[in-house]
């Protein structure tokens, strides 16, 4: 009996010792995919290589890149409205060029770009080991290189510095290389050229995939602003690249100005009067996790303007300034004729125009919209940065939302990053500014080519200064709220000037934004704050 007990107890002890033999602790991955599974499945390649393209619509987000390009100018102001929109002074700071390294939107924009560059690097790394046809490999490589250079250019434009990490090195604790100044400019140019050589032609490209024309436009944009970026202008090179774009014959000025921005504008791809060179495509049949807020309905329109109930919760925020209206629209064109001012094709349905909305506001049934206080809602030219009532400020709606079959706040208008009218205006500017190929008459012809198309009265100018002024006004009329105003005002020397509720400054440090403090904190001393911050 005792022996049996001893055997039993010994057995228990033995089993327990065996159980104690340690298990290996391996992290179970349940809802994500390991790197090795990704490498093993070649069908996943295109899911990776197109991710950089997915971030293009961010360029039009009002609180992100777009805000940093527009809200610091006369075109857009997000005024404080009573208790609304103060937001720690964020919008006022952008408008008055008084941001700081803690600024949330600047921080977000930097992080978005860093993130987008990671998508590019992840894609490049996947292409290094990809087993696919050489042609496809080259096409993808070109596209990814273009996207990387594009996002680097966006950072360079805002901060004059951008990080580069070799895609071959996946160790994120290794510091990146930072490029700035002329070296940065040259880096961008050479990579854009390399991308151009590898990318596919627009003739072969599906809608939404950047093609060779986008690389040309990137080069043109770089050279257009080279004087601002490096201190040495080179308008002839810009002229070379815009001429190349024009020479492709892919583009013509749109016959219907607002049709470019309407829902399902993807259907205009390769139409005879297609202007879009680079687009960020939105797809409202799917939930993208967050819904793109491209300068549209929600952040600008009044709480009680619901677009037939499609937009039940608007925020009554941004508007444009009287300074801009006066100097660009009221003196620069005829708002009664110019098709770009306002369009009533949906007015009878919603009570909201495409383009500029001012005066008494109605709903689709013609009833006057009331403010929250109960007064009739009357949008005025007047606006005050620090204290605007609900009705102050003319509202702009360039990208009209879809009105039937809508999922609220989701849109299917592609955000146009670059388009042909800009190319023509860039050419006009180069012709006016070039010292070797100056052609003031040619420049004015291009301006009037656009004005004729937009049903605006033609204009004339003969001196270089006057021609440049006409080009500047025309850019304000044609490209308003498309995200170029900051660059334009810097290039035309008006950026620091007084405008509505901004007294003007002489501080050229304000041309660029402060580098986010978190980026400096995270750089282990490699990154230094921009001067003046």
């Amino acid at each position: 009996m005792k022996t049996i007990k001893k055997i039993f107890l010994g057995g228990v002890l033995l089993i327990s010792i065996l159980l104690m033999a340690s298990c290996s602790l391996k992290e179970q991955i349940l809802d994500t995919v390991t790197a090795s599974s990704v490498q093993a499945d070649s069908t996943l390649l295109q899911n990776i290589v197109y991710t950089p393209v997915s971030q293009l619509p961010i360029m039009g987000e009002w609180f992100d890149m777009w805000g940093l390009q527009e809200m610091c100018t006369d075109e857009a102001m997000w005024p404080t409205r009573g208790t609304d929109w103060y937001d720690g002074g964020a919008w006022q700071q952008i408008y008055t060029l008084s941001t700081n390294p803690q600024h949330v939107q600047i921080n977000n924009a930097w992080n978005h770009m860093s993130n987008a560059l990671t998508y590019c690097n992840t894609a490049s790394a996947a292409l290094l080991t990809a087993k696919t046809s050489p042609a496809l490999l080259q096409r993808y490589t070109g596209m990814v290189d273009f996207m990387r250079t594009y996002y680097e250019y966006v950072m360079y434009d805002l901060w004059r510095i951008f990080p580069y990490r070799d895609p071959k090195n996946a160790d994120f604790s290794v510091p990146p290389t930072f490029y700035s100044g002329t070296a940065g400019f040259n880096f961008l140019v050479s990579n854009a050229k390399k991308a151009y050589s590898e990318m596919i032609s627009r003739d072969d490209a599906p809608y939404g995939e950047p093609n060779k024309d986008a690389a040309l436009m990137l080069l043109a944009k770089l050279y257009l602003n080279k004087g601002v970026y490096t201190g040495t202008a080179n308008y002839d090179s810009c002229l070379y690249y815009v001429n190349q774009i024009i020479a492709t014959g892919h583009y013509a000025l749109a016959n219907d100005y607002f049709a470019m921005f309407l829902p399902n504008n993807a259907s205009r791809y390769k139409a005879a009067d297609d202007e879009a060179i680079l687009v960020g495509v939105n797809d409202d049949s799917r939930n993208h996790g967050f819904d793109w807020n491209n300068v549209w309905v929600q952040p600008c329109f009044h709480y009680n303007q619901t677009f037939n109930g499609n937009y039940p919760s608007n925020w009554n925020g941004g508007a444009t300034t009287p300074f801009y209206l006066r100097n660009t629209w009221y003196s620069g064109t005829d708002t009664a004729q110019d098709v770009r001012w306002k369009d009533n094709r949906f007015y009878s349905t919603t009570g909201v125009y495409i383009g500029f909305n001012n005066g008494l506001q109605h709903d689709g049934q013609g009833n006057v919209i009331k403010t929250r206080g109960g007064a009739p809602l009357n949008y005025t030219d007047t606006i005050s940065l620090t204290s605007s009532p609900e009705n102050f400020g003319v509202r702009i709606l360039k990208y009209y939302p879809r009105l039937t079959g809508v999922t609220p706040y989701r849109i299917n208008n592609s955000w146009i990053i670059w388009r042909y009218a800009d190319v023509l205006l860039m050419k006009a500017e180069c012709l006016a500014r070039s010292t070797t190929q100056q052609d003031l008459a040619g420049a004015m012809a291009l301006v009037n080519q656009i004005r004729a198309k937009r049903n605006a009265p033609l204009v004339s100018a003969t001196t270089q200064a006057a021609v440049l002024n006409k080009i500047y006004i025309e850019r304000g009329l044609e490209l308003y709220w498309e995200g170029f105003r900051r660059d334009d005002r810097i290039r035309f020397g008006t950026f620091l000037n007084a405008r509505t509720d901004f007294p003007g400054t002489t501080n050229t440090n304000d041309y660029i934004y402060p580098i986010p403090q978190s980026a400096i904190d995270g750089s282990n001393g490699a990154l230094h704050q921009n001067p003046g911050y």
Binding site: V12, S16, L19, M20, S22, C23, L25, E27, Q28, L30, D31, V33, T34, A35, S37, V38, L44, I48, T80, G82, T83, D84, Y86, G88, S98, S114, N115, L117, T118, Y119, N121, T122, P163, F172, S173, P175, F178, P206, G208, E209, V281, D283, S285, R286, Y303, T306, G309, N310, P312, S313, R372, G373, G374, S387, P408, P516, A519, D521, G522, S523
Partner: protein, 1084 residues
């Protein structure tokens, strides 16, 4: 040798038969065996009996008397039965207390007297009376009378008795000495639960506090954490809200982590629980206040809650011990006790304090004055002509009830306890309630000649909770905020009885929100735990423990399409579910042996625990009819508006641990602990961590030189050092992982190509946070235990802080989770608890106990300038924050603009920088620097009265609710707080911002709990053994200058994506009710 045995027998004692067959065992072991069989415990006068003497006995069906004789054969001792104790002490010449000895010398003096219980006044038989320094002594008789001769008037008599505090009396001139013995302070006799075992309180070297069931706060539908709120020094417990089922934030010795969480580890009957929230998340407009992770336990089943506060105690839980450990032990069946107990309570709850907002008439006056309306020519279009007090419309008197049925019983080999609980807890806000059904069974079975003990615990519960839309402060979404800011001129209801709405999504009626929302959560929990303890020898045992903890929770939220906010969506339905389980395998070996004056206990163990969590979310919108609950047919809406998602997570923990307790002469105590934890969460470079601790104790009161002072009943010094970890760092931080995600999906050629991205910046070096803590403690008891206390100094430093630091550019995420070796959080302070028995007479007693903590907290060497946290919510406050974490400041220091003056125009001026910009500055510490509580217990005959007061001071609260109710609301036809409406700030120019205007003093003193009870002594009835009736009031009075509902606030307002904790923000929290309760408990 001569043996004298005095035996005072009771019938039961003499008739009980025992069987003992023991060979070569110590007297101690033999007595333990006898104790186990007879159910009689023994008490031995120190050093009188040689417990290590090796004996052999072979007894069959002998009486206890004979068994004792056999065991103690050859020792000069006597024994006596007293109650259910056998008292064993050295035999003296005074064999018979009544026998008069002839004085052998002129110096001998005869002393007589009586020993009684201090409280009851009843005679105490069997008390040992010994003349110090001699072998003289006696034992009191059945009437408590003693008589003995002492050598001189300098003689000192020591009276000692099991369960009572010893007393020493100098004889002096007295010849008759009556002594009242007080029951021993529970601290001296009680055991505390330490990790993987229990210890006598007197042997504990770490900072461990115990609250047993009789000291729990009595509350209607209490949660375990509420039951010990304020009871333990160094432990701050704040209820997340007054909502039924809400959890609490427990902070033990300060917040020691920025990111990894500050909640302690919960261990229920040896099973460490997962830290995850059991309630599935709601959408952004639904209540997401965390629910209580311990809700599945029936509070009536809890025997004790032990808190391991310092690292020397918590190191046995290694990488999970840094925030302290809360050990919950449930009740077990007892041998020989067969009882059925039914208890019930009924309670009524009400809002303690409503906020003063403008009445409709006051509101009209303000509107007219500000916006120029009048009653004749310029009518206010937003005046709807009613006069509604919205708080009255949403609050209600809540009726709750609680029923408990317990039966327990046990034989020699089998003991059981089973309980059933039904709780219906109504909230004071309409449509919030919780019903709980809990069944539990605890079964102990001995087998193989008592060598093996099996224990099984099964706890199953069903929790059904209704919630209302809360917790999303801001413009929409929060019914409580809307009840405060709703236009008071709206009617609450239309003529047809439906809630009135104005037809704007931006001006919601709180009544409509509640009326048109259904939010039901049904949660099922099962905790099963089975263990087998094998005693190989009397000093070596092995235990295996297997446990499974399973939770499944389903949440169904319906927002009716009639709600203004939902009209355009066509209503919304959400079904969210969460499934969590973990299983545990644990082996421990225990060695426990005494070698002379040395006592050694060694524990070694291995444990493996595997955790799994799975969530699924389905949302539908666009329904054509509300004639059915959307969630019952969620696919019947608009298919393009449906969204689905799910996630799954898993981690494992494998650990080896050991502990050595050594005591020398019961005076010098040493404890060493080590645990090696491996976690799958940690990076491959640091998968295992070792957490050691050392502690020493010195029981000064056992030293002769202290005994001589005849002052201390207990005096112990403790010192401990240890290192623990915090592994609440999330999973999958170390690997490069790809996630398919719609956010990165490109649309190319009309096709949407799902993006595959690296979702986290990997950090293969990631590891636990380390907390080193040092504790020095002093425990004392004096005046026969009438005054006793604990004093502790602690210093706790957390290093290797786990922070989301900005990643270096070109990285998948803007933050990378990393350990920063130099970044530190220091928590230090003192804790003091005192218990005094002010009055102790037969009929009346008064006991006061109190505790206080003076904590300090400071953050050092952060790698970034600051972390912004504490998202401020409200119109115009996007991206605003109210707290920061920065070096050389307390964690979560309040931060914002400071008002310098308000000028005659009512313009608010803030502190500015030299360049004239409003500057941001520190505005206070959200953590108190003084936490205290005071309990008074009175007893008069059968009546008892308990009064519990607690409070904090030194902290500030960011009153975000006040921001949402500031006077600028008049512009937008919302309501405002009265104290803002009439202050001197000009409404026209003022813009609410995070400023000192909303930083309010959070100090308070609260009359938390008053209980008055009456116990019927029903000795003569056969059926009811015990009957108690009590009334209780809780949260009765709060003295505070704080202007919100309640100064007890927690924050759940992390800012941005950095996952940094925040604290002390009033976000319109569900107010704690004031409740009155009537309770009855009957034992049959």
């Amino acid at each position: 040798m001569f043996l004298l045995a005095l035996f005072v027998a009771t019938t039961a004692f003499s008739q009980q038969k025992v069987t003992l067959s023991l060979k070569n065992v110590t007297v101690k072991t033999a007595l333990e065996a006898l104790k186990a069989q007879s159910g009689l415990s023994y008490w031995i006068n120190a050093n009188d009996v040689d417990m290590q003497k090796v004996i052999s006995v072979n007894l069959k069906s002998t009486t206890v008397d004979d068994a004792l004789k056999a065991i103690l054969q050859g020792q000069d001792v006597r024994y006596q039965l007293s109650g259910d104790h056998i008292v064993i002490s050295k035999a003296t010449q005074d064999v018979d207390p009544k026998e008069k000895k002839v004085a052998t010398s002129g110096e001998m003096r005869k002393i007589t007297g009586k020993v009684t219980d201090l409280v009851s006044g009843e005679a105490l038989p069997g008390v040992s009376v010994i003349v110090e320094g001699t072998t003289r002594g006696t034992i009191t008789d059945l009437n408590g009378i003693f008589s003995l001769e002492v050598p001189s008037e300098n003689s000192v008599l020591t009276f000692s008795f099991m369960g009572y505090a010893s007393q020493q009396i100098k004889v002096g001139q007295q010849t008759h000495i009556n002594i009242k013995l007080a029951e021993a302070t529970k601290n001296l006799s009680e055991v505390v639960v330490v990790g993987y075992g229990i210890q006598k309180k007197s042997d504990v070297t770490g900072a461990v506090s115990t609250v047993s069931d009789k000291d729990f706060n009595k509350l209607a539908a209490a949660t375990p954490s509420e039951m010990i709120q304020g009871k333990i020094a160094g432990v701050q417990i704040i209820s997340n809200s007054g909502e039924p089922g809400a959890g609490s934030q427990i902070t033990i010795r300060g917040m020691s982590s920025i990111r990894a969480g500050s909640q302690p580890l919960y261990v229920v009957d040896g099973v460490p629980l997962d830290e995850g929230n059991t309630s599935p998340a709601g959408g952004n407009s639904y209540n997401s206040t965390p629910t209580d992770p311990l809700a599945f336990i029936n509070p009536n089943d809890i025997a004790s809650i032990d808190i391991l506060k310092d690292a020397s105690a918590a190191a046995i839980y290694g990488s999970r011990g840094a925030n302290g450990v809360v050990i919950i032990t449930t009740k077990k069946g007892k041998k020989g006790v067969s009882e059925v107990t039914y208890s019930t309570s009924l309670s009524i709850g009400n809002i303690r304090k409503k906020l003063s907002v403008l009445s409709a008439d006051q509101w009209r006056q303000q509107r007219d004055a500000l916006l120029g309306y009048n009653t004749t020519t310029n009518l206010d279009p937003n005046d709807y002509h009613a006069n509604t007090n919205w708080q009255d419309e949403v609050f209600r008197t809540a009726f709750s009830q609680d029923h408990n049925l317990t039966f327990t019983g046990g034989s020699e080999t089998t003991q059981y306890r089973a309980s059933l609980n039904y709780t219906d807890d109504q909230g004071i806000l309409k449509k919030s309630d919780m019903k709980k059904y809990i069944g539990s069974l605890n079964l102990t079975q001995k087998a193989l000649n008592n060598k093996v003990t099996f224990n099984a615990v099964l706890n199953a519960s069903e929790i059904v909770q209704n919630r209302l839309p809360l917790g999303t402060t801001g413009y929409q979404g929060d019914a409580l905020i809307n009840a405060l800011q709703a236009n008071p001129t709206w009617p609450a209801y239309n003529a047809n009885g439906t809630p009135f709405q104005i037809g704007s999504a931006n001006n919601l009626s709180p009544v409509a929100m509640i009326y048109y929302t259904n939010d039901l959560t049904r949660e099922t929990d099962v905790l099963g735990d089975i263990s087998a303890n094998v005693a190989f020898t009397n000093y070596l045992s092995y235990k295996v423990n297997l446990a499974l903890d399973y939770m499944n929770s389903n949440r169904m939220i319906d927002q009716d399409q009639k709600l203004d906010y939902e009209i355009s969506n066509g209503g919304a339905g959400q079904r969210n579910s969460r499934e969590m389980y973990n299983y545990l395998i644990e082996h421990t070996l225990n060695f426990d042996k005494t070698f002379g004056v040395n006592h050694l206990t060694v524990l070694g163990g291995y444990s493996y625990q595997n955790f799994q969590i799975r969530d699924a979310y389905v949302t539908g919108q666009g329904y054509i009819t509300d004639a059915l609950l959307y969630t019952n047919n969620i696919g019947s809406g608009n298919p393009t508006m449906t969204s689905i998602s799910s996630d799954a997570d898993s981690y494992q923990l494998q650990s080896y641990f050991g502990r050595v307790n050594y005591s020398l002469k019961d005076r010098y105590l040493l404890t060493a602990t080590v645990r090696a934890d491996g976690s799958s969460k940690f990076g491959t470079n640091h998968q295992y961590g070792v957490f050691p601790s050392f502690a020493g104790g010195w029981r000064l009161s056992e030293e002769p030189f202290i005994k001589k002072l005849n002052f201390f009943d207990n005096l112990k010094l403790r010192f401990g050092w240890g290192e623990t970890g915090n592994s609440e760092i999330g999973t999958h931080n170390s690997q490069t992982l790809y996630t398919p995600t719609p956010v990165a999906s490109a649309v190319v050629g009309g096709q949407t190509i799902t993006g595959l991205i690296i979702s986290k910046t990997p950090n293969p070096n990631i590891t636990w946070e380390k907390t080193q803590s040092t504790d020095a403690g002093l425990e004392f008891a004096i005046l026969g235990g009438r005054l006793m206390g604990d004093f502790d100094y602690f210093y706790k430093q957390t290093t290797d802080l786990l922070l989301a630091i900005p990643s270096q550019a070109v990285s998948p995420t803007s933050f990378v989770v990393s350990n920063i070796p130099n970044a530190k959080i220091d928590n230090y302070g003192v804790e003091l608890s005192l218990t005094g028995k002010a009055i102790q007479t037969k009929d009346f007693s008064w006991e006061i106990s109190g505790n206080m903590t003076l904590p300090k907290n400071i953050v050092k060497n952060l790698p970034v300038q600051m972390y912004q946290t504490g998202a401020a919510v409200g119109q115009g406050l996007s991206n605003a924050y109210c707290e920061i974490i920065t070096s050389n400041q307390p964690i979560d220091v309040l931060y914002g603009k400071k008002i310098t003056n308000i000028d005659s125009q009512g313009v608010v001026h803030y502190l500015q920088t030299k360049s004239g910009i409003d500057s941001l500055t520190y505005l206070g510490n959200p953590s108190p620097n003084f936490i205290w509580s005071l309990t008074n217990t009175f007893r008069y005959k059968n009546w008892d009265l308990n009064i519990f007061i607690n409070g904090v001071s030194g902290n500030k609260i960011f009153n975000n609710t006040a921001v949402l109710l500031d006077k600028t609301n008049i512009n937008t036809s919302h309501n405002t707080l009265s104290y803002f409406a009439y202050d001197n700030v000009a409404t026209a120019t003022y813009t609410p911002t995070v400023s000192s205007r909303y930083m309010m003093n959070g100090a308070y003193a609260r009359l938390s709990n008053v209980t008055l009870g009456y116990t019927f002594h029903l000795k003569n009835t056969t059926y009811i053994k015990n009957l108690r009736v009590y009334v209780n009031g809780s949260n009765l009075i709060v003295i505070t200058s704080y202007k919100g509902f309640d100064p007890d606030v927690t924050a759940s307002a992390p800012f941005g994506g950095n996952g940094v904790n925040s604290f002390g923000i009033d976000n319109g929290n569900y107010p704690k009710p004031r409740t009155f309760m009537l309770g009855i408990s009957a034992t049959f």
